[in-house]
Symmetry: D2
Subunit: 340 residues, 4 copies
């Protein structure tokens, strides 16, 4: 599944010869989700500084089966069902040694030019970034671990105190993943806001996730009602929409922590004196670090159910149609997955 150039996808034979290094495994891909970034590359040929100058295979949310193992690999066997972290950092960088490999600037990440993605028959990957799927977890669920891990990273960064009330701005895939992660991660309830009712309807089917349509309801009032006027203890900005910033922090309790997950295109206006007066701390999320095992544990236990978010599954031979469907941006679609 190759992005030849902007708006030109093709499902073709594309020769990639990858040797299995001594710490690697080869995985036969079984499921691969379509991410907003995949769509962005498809439609615009670039994201920020990352430009698709040569044909590039898309896809980074994937699961599969191990078909070959490097000689040093332990803890796996051929036939193991796994999902994979798509980013491979330098193991020698200062960031990685400090436990923050996600911000290692030399990280190689699937489907980020010029690195090929994994929407293909098989792929070689370091075993240390592969994680076994529990027996009763499907490959589609396995592919969902990637976007879930962003929500899990956000929940971890928030340092939730058990019983906190959270506010999530934006009910797209990442917003819902964050809401689920915050809820399973200790919050008593999560208020989620969007302007698209169809997305809120999906989020609102989960117990203790309270959808608010920002066009029709006053978010601040809803939060005030739910918290006796105190405000949200933990806030997550997941829309990436710069226009939300002037209001966003006013949902917060004094002493709150706000986690910025959505990626605005431009600098956003932030009222520093307001943050100071309220004693707000800002944390940021960039992908995830050490979250795959935690995400798997939350799904395995049933604390997080990602199945309602798999809106549609396409077979591999309809992959181009899958991208077109995903690119259409239906409001009631969360995640489109391609099965191989």
């Amino acid at each position: 599944m190759v992005l030849e150039r902007k708006q030109q996808l093709s499902l073709c034979d594309y020769p990639i010869i990858e040797n299995v290094g001594e710490n690697d495994v080869r995985i036969h891909i079984k499921s691969c989700g379509i991410c907003g970034s995949d769509i962005h590359y498809y439609l615009y040929g670039k994201i920020g500084d990352f430009v698709v100058n040569e044909p590039m295979i898309l896809g980074h949310e994937a699961s599969g089966v191990i078909v070959e193992m490097g000689k040093n690999v332990k803890g796996f066997k051929v036939g193991d069902r796994v999902c994979m972290e798509p980013g491979v950092p330098s193991l020698r960088s200062k960031e990685t040694l400090s436990g923050r490999y996600n911000i290692d600037p030399t990280v190689r990440f699937w489907a980020t030019p010029p690195i090929h993605g994994c929407l293909r028959e098989n792929v070689v990957h370091p075993a240390m970034f592969c994680f076994k799927l529990p027996e009763d977890m499907s490959f589609e669920e396995g592919a969902m671990i990637e976007p879930l891990s962003i929500g899990m990273e956000a929940a971890k960064q928030a340092s939730i105190e058990p019983g906190d009330v959270a506010f999530v701005n934006g009910a797209g895939t990442i917003g819902i993943m964050t809401a689920l992660s915050a809820l399973a991660g200790g919050c008593a309830c999560v208020i989620i806001a969007d302007i698209k009712q169809a997305k809120l309807d999906i989020a609102g089917k989960y117990k203790n996730i309270i959808p608010v349509n920002a066009k029709k309801q006053d978010i601040r009032e809803t939060i005030a009602d739910l918290t006796g006027g105190w405000g949200a203890d933990r806030l997550f900005e997941c829309s990436g929409f710069d226009g939300c910033y002037p209001d966003f922090f006013t949902m917060s309790a004094n002493g709150a922590t706000a986690v910025l997950v959505g990626i605005p295109q431009e600098p956003v206006p932030i009222d520093v004196s307001y943050l100071q007066k309220k004693g707000i701390t800002l944390k940021t999320v960039f992908r995830y670090v050490n979250e795959y095992p935690k995400s798997l544990a939350q799904v395995a236990s049933g604390k997080i159910d990602v199945k309602p978010l798999i809106s549609k599954v396409f077979p591999f031979d309809k992959a181009v149609a899958a991208y077109e469907f995903a690119a259409a941006g239906h409001n009631d679609v969360v995640k489109v997955v391609i099965d191989l």
Copy 2:
């Protein structure tokens, strides 16, 4: 309900004249749980340095209705259903100002000699330590907020990362409260160990709480199986039994945090070099601080259900019988509550 002296309880008229100060409310008590410490005072007349030298009213796990308000009290009205934190610290101590009023050495705590408890018709208390019950929460559940808050404090101290696996040692009231708090507070699952099967049966009815009978099963092996050999990320010692210490930390993952909740009578042997090699951090719990609103939120949302832990309810006129029943220590009894 007065403890006249060791092993001598009586339900009698006992004149206490309490004025409602300007920041206080008077509460008509509706439900009051029996705590292990109440039983201890009843049976032995003392706990450590705290000795019952004069008749003392028992009880500190209570809920009720506001019947009178001081002139400065805001946010409440007569008729409000509330539960109450039983400890009142100095508001001027260094500990309180630092956000740790639980370790203020001058705290006055119900039913800790010479302070009377609240198992009586009504009691005067600072409004700031009273918390409204949600509409659909019963008074019995309200009385359970006190022991739950100890578990909630333990979960907070553990700084759980969402998706962690927890191990709780001891399935008494506090052990189960801690397991529920850790689970609702972010853990994917909780392994709880005890030697009394009846207690484990109660704990095991909750989803994702995995009971282990330490007499029949190998706890370490169970944890290893569940975690791929990694161990528990967060550990809670809730038995207070010094004999458990040599094994307790061996359940832990490298880099784990262990929270000591149970109160051993004597110094316990701790293998410091083992803790060092595994990079374990030890946190301690003493009562709770700022946990009542969080506990209420977890129960209100349904994330924590304390109802199965209310084993038996007695009317006030059977209060002595209630104490005798609780003191008998039935293995299948978690909490005994007295209704007024």
Copy 3:
């Protein structure tokens, strides 16, 4: 010393009758510094929403001698030399109970309308917010504890790891106080930037504070040289100048913490995606919480020397001249103090 109205100061008899409550002391003021906020009220008659509608006594950076004590006060005696935290929060607010009394919205703070300041002969204050001066500390130094505590709060918020390199933007009083606090608080060295050479000269006299004139030198390059290209581990924005924001975060190491101390008048543009990519956390400072004893300890030990920052001392009868001198904004003046 009364601010009658904007730009109208007078040293006059102003009758204030204050009773000493049971937890209060009466302090005879000996030294009082002039703060930027005092100057701002003097020149403009308001700061943000705080407007001087009635005559108001200025001053909040003060030290003095206890002359009278309330009946419950312990730990002090008449004649004790003290400095005082100028803000008195509600002791019953949720913020205060959580250890963050600085963001209690009902705090009463000296010289913030309509609360009178302390540039007067004596003042009544809660004993819990008074702190004894060590024997060899002057009253002028005692008055400096207030601005120092803002720097100390910033250093605490930064969670400095011993050996970190810090960058401080702005070499005004608060910038220098922050640099000193960060250095004494664990940093190996502090780079401080400003465009006023006279201020940098004062800062640069301290060992391990490295001044950089932003007009003449490339700050980023200087930091890169000092850190082998890594960047500053901890950043402190102390200028309050919104124009600095586009560059400010580029001084940072990956994974850094930035503390926002200066108060911009308007929302500032922040490049969220840049913060995300670098894994930067933002903390905010609003006054200080529990910092007076720590500030006193750092000065008493000699780890922080505030004496070089006391630029000029005026007697009380020249207080109006002192304000005019301070308002002139001489670049080589850090702090002006009035002695009573």
Copy 4:
């Protein structure tokens, strides 16, 4: 310098062929300190489970000059003066990825059987664990970075709040290194206790380190005097002596953090209920993680001066004599260094 067997050292030609891997450098050793663990292996032939079954080269506190570089090595050149972290963890372990490579159980550490140490002419080491010495730092100081890093790790683990008062138990090398690290790391002053006056005399020469002879003075009283009765905010146990445990925590303030650095041979008795009542947190230290650059920064800036702790320097051909001298345990000797 080979430990042939218990109590049998010899300076001999010992053939080790080490190839320089692509990420490695070869270092010509210039200085190597003698550690307590070296002495222990020398005298007893083992430490815990680590037994010297075959001849082993001693030494792990070293500095030197790069003489050869692997092809992937960047940021160094032949001739660079460096010091080296002696432990090399797996870069693929869960502990390392979490930023805690010190507790990776597969770490290979110099002079820990069966891994040879570095008291030899040259050694091959991963470049990522080599750190350049500042120009004006001697090789002997460079060798001191290893023991200093243990103190620095302890100071980091303590999460010192700037202005805290620390108590260090034990004035051996590690005790003094910890005291210096805590002081430079933010503490206002450090009280250090021992029963050997000569060691206290060395520690006491540093400003703001207050020595207390536990045989002659009451430590608790000294701390109480210095803190107005409050106690030490941060405690460091550096003696490893189990007999100190009953008293150790009584030096603490409420809410303190205690860091366990010394390694007791046997489990120690800890009064958990006392820790709970005081709200004490226990942290542990095992070697160090990411501390070399921080240690170098503190020494380079002059905030920590290790030179007074280099008690005696021997040339390489007197290495056996150096070990005998160090093993004699003179009270006024802190560190013995061998120059090559």
